[in-house]
Amino acid sequence: MIAKEWRDARWRFLVAAVPVVLVVFFLVTPYEDVVRMVEGIPGEDPVDIALRDISDLYYFGGLFVLLPLAALLGVTSISGEVGNDAIFLLLSRPASRTRLLLTKYAISAGVLLVAAVLGKVLVLAVAAARGYPIGQMQSTEAVLSVLVLWLGVLFVLGTALLVSVLFRSITASIVACALTLFLVFALPVVVAAFYPAGYASELALRLELYTYWMPAYYYYPDDFYSIGGFALTNFLVCLTAAVVPLLAALWLFNRKAY
């Protein structure tokens, strides 16, 4: 089962890996350029700016690669099995539905973790090759950024898995998953855009909507970078958001008739 799930996932992983490598090579600007840009800005340390740039690149790159990969891994998990009738082969064996779903989830989560780690390693390696003072980056900072981003992406994986259980057709699952993720990730932006004008604090409120109500906001442990503390809020929000759709998918899968 694990071997089969890994074989299913590895191609998606490889498809996602190619653009990542290309993007990282193109987007990491040489360290000398960063230093030149920072020169003349009083109070700015080029090392801090450069390391922050690297973290930002990892965060945004991670979002644009890991989110679709997580959605892709999750959305075909069950509806794919139903679509080719292989679900009957799996369900006719003495393996509980909980075990089947958790195995699929664990493999996908593992693939995403590997992708998150490799992405971080790749970004750091390319940055080091371009002269960034990577040695000054705290290792806990690097680990935490990977962990929180990965936990955050698990929300997408769980949501896609839930949709995959809900719908029998792969097409319906993909459409529903895309719609759900659009609503979740874009709704705060849409709400902010339609926020009534005329308030003095409009900009602040919009910013608040853009940030605190945006799931992806929590995937970036800003607390750690700004004050150096453990990003507990980010961690808890991401953990909760990861667990809830998984539990819902398990509940539904155990009751679903095939």
């Binding site: 679900i87 082969l89 369900l91 003495p94 008739a257 095939y258």
Partner: protein, 316 residues
């Protein structure tokens, strides 16, 4: 190698392989199985016969735990299908009417997948049946014919060394040669090993070829169930030849006899379809108020029995 757990699996002290009581299965507002009750004896080859949409697949899916019943209960090898579904599936081999194999896998790879998901696995047995069916041992599944895929599904169902095989329309869509090969193995090898085989079909030829017990289902209800020979004996066509053409009163009188299902004129005679106590009916036919020259009876073929029940639809 065979796992000893497989031997433990067959030692459940129950006389029936499958016992179903008042089973109800709904699809939304549509009732697919409507108070079905039946018993499948251990060691039998039970043909579950019914027209398309009769509720055969819904019954099997419920027995396998793919869906929960909306009413009633059922036990498979003594285990409750709802609360002990894992125990049921550990002891039952199942092959679906549809191709549920992973097309991209090879035969050894899908064997490994099924082994991983089973409590016990007898690869020697699987290999033996792969040999019996002359399946390519290392072939890609997508390159197999439809008949070979059905045969492979049977091999995989047998891999866990089950006491009971549940097959949903196993020969559906197979050409006559593949169908014959499949059934030959089913009855010649699988049933001969003492396993119970419960298979659904709408093909009378399948039942005639392998089943020793049959149940006919229509509209989600079991119309009749019993051993095939006994069923043939209790379903007979009588031809009564009179010395003179009998009046309409006689025809009406015959229609009122118990167990007479259908009466029709045939020249100077009358043809009757009877199901039930045929001996009593025969005695009654020989004691008519009109002079009877001959009373002849022949066993009904399964097709006649099936058609009689399905067209009639009377519960039995």
């Amino acid at each position: 190698m065979a796992d000893t757990r497989a031997e433990e699996a067959v030692s459940v002290p129950e006389s029936a392989a499958i016992q179903v009581r008042d089973l109800v299965v709904n699809y939304g507002h549509k009732r697919a199985v409507d108070g079905l009750s039946m018993t499948v004896p251990r060691g039998s080859v039970y043909g579950f016969l019914g027209p398309n949409g009769a509720g055969k697949t819904s019954t099997i899916k419920t027995l396998m735990g793919f869906r929960k019943p909306n009413g009633g209960s059922a036990k498979v090898l003594g285990y409750d299908i709802v609360n002990e579904s894992l125990e049921v599936r550990a002891r039952v081999g199942f092959a679906s009417e549809v191709n549920s194999l992973y097309e991209g896998m090879t035969v050894p790879r899908i064997c490994r997948l099924c082994r991983d998901l089973s409590r016990s696995w007898d690869q020697d047995l699987v290999d033996r049946y792969i040999g019996v069916f002359s399946l390519p041992a290392d072939g890609k599944i997508r390159k197999l014919s439809k008949g070979q895929k059905a045969q492979l599904q049977l091999c995989l169902a047998l891999g866990s060394n089950p006491e009971l095989l549940i097959l949903d329309e196993p020969t559906s869509g197979l050409d006559p040669v593949a169908q014959r090969a499949f059934l030959k193995v089913l009855v010649g090898d699988v049933a001969a090993e003492g396993r119970t085989v419960f298979f659904s079909t709408h093909l009378l030829s399948d039942i005639e070829a392998v089943a020793d017990t049959v149940g006919i289902i229509k509209g989600g209800k079991l119309l009749v169930s019993g051993d095939l020979d006994g069923m043939r004996e209790s379903h007979r066509v009588f031809r009564v030849v009179y010395a003179e053409t009998p009046p309409d009163d006689e025809v009406r009188s015959l229609q009122t006899l118990p167990d007479v299902q259908e009466v029709e004129r045939e020249g100077r005679g009358i043809k009757l379809r009877v199901r039930g106590d045929v001996e009593t009916v025969e005695r009654g036919l020989r004691e008519r108020p009109y002079r009877v020259l001959d009373v002849d009876s022949t066993g009904m073929g399964l097709e006649d029995i099936f058609v009689a029940y399905v067209e009639d639809g009377h519960d039995r």
